[in-house]
């Protein structure tokens, strides 16, 4: 092969490499970055009964003065509203509290399940992983409505508790935080189990034998070896659950009460009931910033782990 041909070959390969990156980059720009910027812009606008329901609207036909006018009319007023009204702060805190509690419970339930699958005979493992996933083949809404059925006053749960004599009166389950957390834990379990399983499955069993050989009883070997070595799985599972739970709308709307709202519900109310797009956008941007923090921390830790390797 001549030098010219080989450099042409190389250029072609470079171009191919760029194309591979270009497609997802383009996708993310069009369907993620641009919408985000639009939402950011709306959050800096003022509400107005019009079409679209906010001002200012960028009018490029007006030329440079039009753009200048547009920029000067943007403001942070909506964020001031978020800070001044207790309703918003309460929703944020409530979302974070429920997400923290649910994620913790998910970890507590998910870890033993993932551990059990990872230690099961190898040919059984795919079956068990499928078993974790299988309920999620049915529609999400149907499963949540099923929970309403289970949790209502004359539902399955109360029937069972009354029959067993554990309670004398039917317990109110629906429209409580318990119902929300129950629904969330049920719905998000695979997202906790799978990353945990992936990290536990890779673990070399001889490490536990070595720990035992060096004098560590089983529980200590688990704590000193298994848990640290599954840290990446724990991080991934926690983030995969925490972030969407914090923004969850459907589960609290169907299973929770109407007195205290999670941030997703507040956002929905602003957008569809109050028709206040700018404030709804500000709520969304603030949520994004709040949730970005754990992602960045995770990325940082991941990078450090990779550099360590």
């Amino acid at each position: 092969m001549t030098i010219a041909a080989s450099s042409r070959e190389k250029a072609r390969r470079d171009w191919g490499g760029r194309l591979v990156i270009l497609i997802p980059a383009l996708w993310l720009t069009v369907f993620f970055l641009v919408p985000c910027l639009i939402v950011l812009k709306i959050s800096l606008s003022q509400t107005m009964i019009a079409q679209p329901p906010y001002v200012p609207v960028l009018d490029l036909a007006a030329g440079w003065p039009g753009i200048k006018d547009f920029i000067t009319r943007l403001s942070f007023d909506n964020y001031k509203i978020l800070g001044s009204d207790w309703l918003y702060l309460a929703s944020y805190l409530r979302s974070l509290a429920i997400a923290t509690l649910s994620t913790f419970i998910l970890l507590l339930i998910g870890y033993p399940i993932a551990y059990g699958i990872a230690r099961a005979p190898r040919r059984l493992q795919p079956v068990l992983v499928m078993a974790v996933f299988l309920p999620f083949v049915t529609a999400f809404l149907i499963r949540i409505y099923a929970w309403i059925n289970i949790l209502q006053r004359e539902g399955l749960l109360n029937d069972a508790l009354l029959a067993l004599g554990i309670v004398r009166e039917p317990v109110v389950w629906l429209a409580t935080d318990t119902a929300i957390v129950l629904g969330i834990v049920y719905s998000y379990l695979p997202f906790m189990v799978l990353p945990l399983y992936a990290s536990l499955e890779k673990m070399d069993e001889s490490l536990l034998e070595a720990a035992a050989d060096l004098g560590a009883p089983r529980w200590k070997a688990f704590w000193l070896i298994t848990v640290p070595l599954s840290a990446s799985g724990i991080f991934a599972g926690v983030l995969l659950c925490f972030i969407p739970i914090a923004g969850e709308f459907v589960i609290p709307d169907l299973l929770g009460g109407s007195d205290a709202l999670m941030i997703g519900q507040t956002l929905w109310t602003e957008f569809f009931q109050n028709k206040d797009w700018p404030v709804a956008s500000a709520v969304a941007i603030a949520l994004l910033v709040i949730l970005l923090a754990p992602i960045l921390i995770y990325q940082h830790l991941q990078m450090r782990a990779v550099e360590d390797r």
Binding site: D204, S206, L207, E209, A210, A211, A212, D213, L214, G215, A216, P217, K220, L224, I225, P228, L229, A231, D308, R309
Partner: protein, 372 residues
């Protein structure tokens, strides 16, 4: 099967397997095996894969429980003790270093489990790092080390608790040849200097021969022979051991006469064989003579006016190995024999070629009679 203990060692065994059996479901891994290992001994378990040698080691470490029989350490039954309560430590074939801990963290792991004071742990870790010549590597993680260095960390970690017995599961198999040979001598030195008892599992005969004071050759879940390396090689007690250890020519025959110090065997095709060794076999019984290839004399002329311990044949194949050459010879009586001859001259001046007529002979004390 235990053939006494080597001189200068305590009479009481440190480790004793008493009629130990181990079954996994229907598969018998170890069958009624008894073995004594003595204080300060370097003992090697040698055998082909699947012979049960690793299972035996794992039972001593506590990872497997014997199905029957007892394992004694210092006279006390340890069969039921979990691994973390046994005063033995193991060096794993895969090294099993904890990837999230530093070299120091790995070595200190066992000491921390014992609740040793911090200052003492630090001192012991330093001592261990010096012992395996890894000073300055303490804060590295296992993945930042070479294979040889990892092997040393594994060794230091297993030695840190000063175990009564150090178990080594194929400790050198992951190293390349040159490093493996150097490490052998280091291991021997270490065992000598520390005065510890080492039990090593290996499938590498050369390794077992060089390292061990005594070797237990295992086959099919049982000990075929337990003896010093030279006894195993020079006086194998069965055809299987003779065949497994090194290279061997086996010549079948009937006992003609048996006196203390001498056995005469008659082979229908090869004639009379005289071996300077007694046998239990009665006259007329079928036995075999084992002859190591290097103990056979190869000549291009008939050596002696005697038909004893001498056969004529033709060279069928020559394998040149550098220092020595292996000659495959088809005897006139149909037997195939191998002779190993040191290359005292350069190859260009090789006198014997394929197809040449040669005579093989051996001295009476070169052969070993093996019971059927």
């Amino acid at each position: 099967m235990v053939e006494g203990n080597p001189d200068g060692q305590a009479a009481r065994p440190l480790v004793r397997f008493e009629a130990v059996s181990k079954r996994f479901g229907n598969i018998v891994a170890i069958e009624r095996l008894s073995l004594d290992i003595f204080e300060r001994e370097f003992f090697a378990l040698l055998g082909p894969s699947g012979c049960g040698k690793t299972t035996l080691l794992r039972m001593l470490a506590g990872f497997e429980q014997p199905s029957e029989g007892r394992i004694l350490l210092d006279g006390a039954d340890i069969s039921g003790l979990p691994p973390h309560r046994r005063p033995v430590n193991m060096m794993f074939q895969s090294y099993a270093l904890f990837p999230h801990l530093t070299v120091e963290g790995n070595i200190a792991f066992g000491l921390k489990q014992d609740g040793m004071p911090k200052a003492e742990i630090a001192a012991r870790v330093r001592e261990m790092l010096t012992l395996v010549r890894l000073e300055g590597f303490g804060i590295r993680k296992p993945h930042q080390l070479s294979g040889g260095q990892r092997q040393r960390v594994a060794l230091a970690r297993a030695l840190a608790k000063r175990p009564r017995v150090l178990l080594l599961d194929e400790p050198l198999s992951a190293l390349d040849r040159k490093l493996r040979e150097d490490t052998r001598f280091e291991l021997m030195e270490l065992q000598e200097n520390l005065g510890l008892t080492f039990v090593i599992v290996t499938h590498d005969q050369e390794e077992a021969m060089t390292l061990a004071d005594r070797i237990g050759v295992m086959n099919g879940g049982q000990l075929a022979q337990v003896a010093t390396p030279s006894d195993i090689y020079e006086r194998p007690n069965s055809r299987w051991v003779a065949d497994f250890i090194g290279d061997v020519n086996l010549i079948e025959g009937r006992v003609v006469s048996s006196t203390p110090g001498q056995t005469i065997i008659e082979n229908a095709a090869a004639g009379r064989l005289r071996v300077a060794q007694a046998t239990d076999a009665v006259v007329g019984a079928n036995i075999a003579v084992a002859l190591r290839p290097e103990k056979i004399q190869l000549d291009t002329t008939a050596p002696r006016p005697s038909d004893e311990n001498c056969f004529a044949g033709r060279v069928t194949e020559i394998g040149y190995l550098g220092g020595v050459s292996i000659f495959k010879v088809k005897l006139d009586n149909g037997l195939d024999m191998k002779a190993r001859v040191a290359n005292r001259r350069r190859l260009t001046e090789q006198l014997i070629g394929t197809g040449d007529r040669v005579w093989l002979s051996f001295l009476p004390d070169a052969g070993v009679v093996l019971p059927q």
